[in-house]
């Protein structure tokens, strides 16, 4: 947890020491999410997926590391850029891909699509499309956990662009006032659509929003899933033990455009390349080798991921179309 002054972020520091057994599964998840996103991008360009498609490529270490700090009973609330969060929480690639295809077998039967994944089985409270609108919802789930003393913690993910909107301000203010077990995680990927930080924030440190509420805060680089897991674990422990919320800002970067329709012309090649150098997947893989994981084992894991995603695509391709839109309007 950082001090009240603007917290500096070390971008290229060494990955925190981890055991191979701790890192390997995180690497596998990140890789699966990367491949899932790549496959959906391909299907989108083939016209098999429609609407808005927001890829999280480059940011995988954040959702993977953060969710790894949770128990299954804990809740996750996310934005429209949530495929990775859903997968990290346990949703299958099949259910996600079939949803993107708008199929009956999709996670939400073709009703929600890319931006609105929900999974009750995994306590994944959904992906939301109105910026900031989901922040109070996360505070509400945490409010319910405190009301029932069920020991659950809620993670709420959002982008730095959401930190200016009223829903975010009110959500964190009430969470701080009523002390509910929630961790607000700002995925600061440095752009809100085409807008860089300096054009959207007077102070380029979102975690400082916590100061006026006496809320604990943290801020760090998000390219190492183990580091993310450890730091989020601190906040999760605080929430579980003291019911106190935390505002965590994790600095990351999206390699692709805001959505498939955005060529991302507002960034220089150099800047993007610079960040790709920090690709969390490459760093994690190198670390695994360094930790003595035999190349063949790594490759086997990678092949396994490849197969998993290919299967998910085939499943989506061959599933029947969505066929129901009236059943879930009014609950009897």
């Amino acid at each position: 947890m950082t001090t009240p002054e603007t917290a500096q972020v070390e971008l290229d520091d060494e990955p925190v020491t981890a055991t191979r057994d701790e890192l390997a599964p995180l690497y596998r998840q990140m890789l699966a999410i990367r491949r899932l996103e790549e496959a959906s991008a391909k299907a989108y360009s083939q016209g098999k997926i429609g609407g808005f498609l927001h890829l999280i490529i480059g940011q995988e270490a954040v959702c993977v590391g953060a969710v790894a700090a949770l128990e299954p009973k804990d809740y996750v609330v996310a934005t429209y850029r949530e495929h990775g969060h859903a997968y990290a929480k346990g949703v299958t690639a099949r259910a996600i891909m079939a949803e993107l295809y708008g199929k009956k077998t999709g996670l939400v039967k073709g009703l929600g699509g890319s931006m609105h994944l929900f999974s009750r089985e995994h306590n994944f409270l959904g992906g939301y499309g109105i910026v900031g609108g989901h922040v109070p919802i996360a505070a509400g789930a945490a409010f319910a956990s405190k009301y029932r003393a069920d020991g659950r913690v809620t993670l709420c993910f959002f982008g730095e662009g959401a930190s200016t909107i009223g829903g975010f301000a009110e959500g964190i203010a009430l969470a701080a006032l009523w002390k509910v077990p929630v961790v607000f995680i700002c995925e600061n990927n440095q752009y809100s659509m085409g807008t860089p930080l300096y054009r959207s924030l007077a102070v380029e440190d979102v975690s400082m929003r916590a100061l006026a509420h006496g809320m604990a805060r943290d801020r760090f680089d998000g390219n190492d899933p183990v580091k993310v897991k450890r730091r989020i674990a601190e906040a999760v422990a605080r929430a579980r033990e003291t019911q106190e919320p935390t505002l965590v800002e994790i600095v990351t970067y999206r390699f692709r455009g805001h959505s498939m329709s955005d060529p991302g012309l507002y960034r220089t090649k150099e800047e993007v390349e610079e960040w790709k150098r920090r690709d969390p997947l490459n760093r994690a893989r190198a670390k695994l080798v360094e930790l003595g994981m035999p190349e063949p084992e790594i490759v086997a894991m990678e092949d396994d991921v490849k197969a998993e995603i290919e299967d998910a695509v085939k499943f989506a391709e061959t599933s029947p179309p969505a066929d129901e839109y009236k059943q879930y309007v009014v609950k009897e």
């Binding site: 809740y75 009750r120 609108g133 109070p136 029932r148 829903g167 959500g171 203010a173 309007v329 609950k331």
Partner: protein
């Protein structure tokens, strides 16, 4: 049968449902220690403690959203808006989250929540505090919208709304809190989506909800003195709407006057007018009349406010137009 106030009826409904179900809680500005800006939550904090009666800061978007999140995971929140004028800063939570999560999640999550509070003009509180926003909420699939006119209806409908698994927008009449009605001491529920004929008559059908039901009953009295028997249909529930009861009446009377306290353009009364002409065109002996407020923001001065709002005399005049008596 005991006669109690509309305010007391609402209070009893919440009290009984909170006794019945520990997952029901109420949250809003001044609902606890202050016992409610309009005293509708009188005594609830004392009875149920701060855990279940939560005073919220001024952050409607925030606490409406907290209600939605709590409802998602199984609680049954009652969110009080001090008045529905203030629901405009929270409407995104109601329209985009409360109303849509059941659909977006393909039925995995549903939102058993009640958004309640007074609506419609009070007296001389000015244009920002004198709005009737029911047509906004009635427009949105996924919501239910209820507006009771009597203490009896208020209690039975609010209890049902609290038990409903869908988000219910429950708009109380800001000027009805002190009105009284017979309310049985035994428990009862009133199904949502059922209109109620508050007065029988064969010459004209008056359709209204909330405060305007009383205005229509007043108008019906003076019409009766002139030999005109008006049937007064209290819609009670705008979504779902009990169009059958309205149409049955119109088929009988052949004349229809719809009365609402809100603005005329795209007011909810237009929806009723459409449904009536669609179902009963051949029965209509005259065009459907609507009586509404003037198409202006509410002025402050009492004399102007009275001019702007529908009065019994305006209803009487509309009935006479519908009967070609002018």
């Amino acid at each position: 049968m005991p006669v109690i106030s509309y305010r007391e009826a609402l209070n009893q409904a919440m009290r009984e449902e909170m006794e019945r179900d520990p997952d029901v809680f109420i949250m809003g500005e001044e609902v606890g220690h202050y016992n409610g800006a309009y005293k509708v939550t009188q005594g609830l904090l004392h009875r149920f403690s701060e855990r279940r009666v939560i005073d919220a800061p001024i952050a409607e978007m925030g606490f409406a959203g907290i209600g939605v999140g709590a409802a998602m995971v199984g609680l049954r929140p009652i969110i009080e808006f001090m008045t529905f004028n203030f629901s405009l800063v929270a409407i995104d939570q109601i329209v985009n989250n409360a109303a849509k999560i059941y659909q977006m999640s393909a039925g995995q999550y549903w939102i058993p929540i009640v958004f309640r509070g007074p609506g419609g003009p009070a007296v001389q509180v000015g244009s920002q505090h004198s709005q009737s926003l029911e047509s906004f909420y009635a427009h949105v699939p996924g919501l239910k919208v209820v507006m009771p006119s009597t203490a009896y209806d208020a209690k039975g409908l609010l209890k049902t709304a609290i038990r409903d698994d869908n988000p219910v927008v429950f708009i109380e009449g800001e000027t009805l809190y002190n009105t009284t009605w017979e309310v049985p001491s035994e428990e009862y529920l009133i199904e949502l989506g059922r209109a109620d004929v508050k007065r029988a008559g064969q010459h004209v059908t008056l359709v209204a909800w909330s405060k305007m039901v009383w205005t229509c009953l007043d108008a019906a009295k003076s019409l009766a003195e002139q030999g005109i028997e008006a049937e007064v249909v209290d819609v009670r529930s705008l979504r779902p709407l009990d169009a059958a009861t309205i149409c049955d009446s119109v088929k009988k009377t052949g004349r229809c006057v719809i009365v609402e306290v809100g603005w005329p353009v795209a007011g909810y009364g237009a929806e009723i007018a459409h449904q009536v002409q669609k179902a009963c065109l051949d029965y209509l002996d005259a065009p459907i009349e609507r009586v509404t407020s003037e198409d202006v923001p509410m002025p402050y001065a009492k004399n102007l406010e009275d001019e702007v709002q529908p009065q019994a005399a305006d209803v009487v005049a509309a009935v006479k137009r519908a009967l070609y008596l002018e």
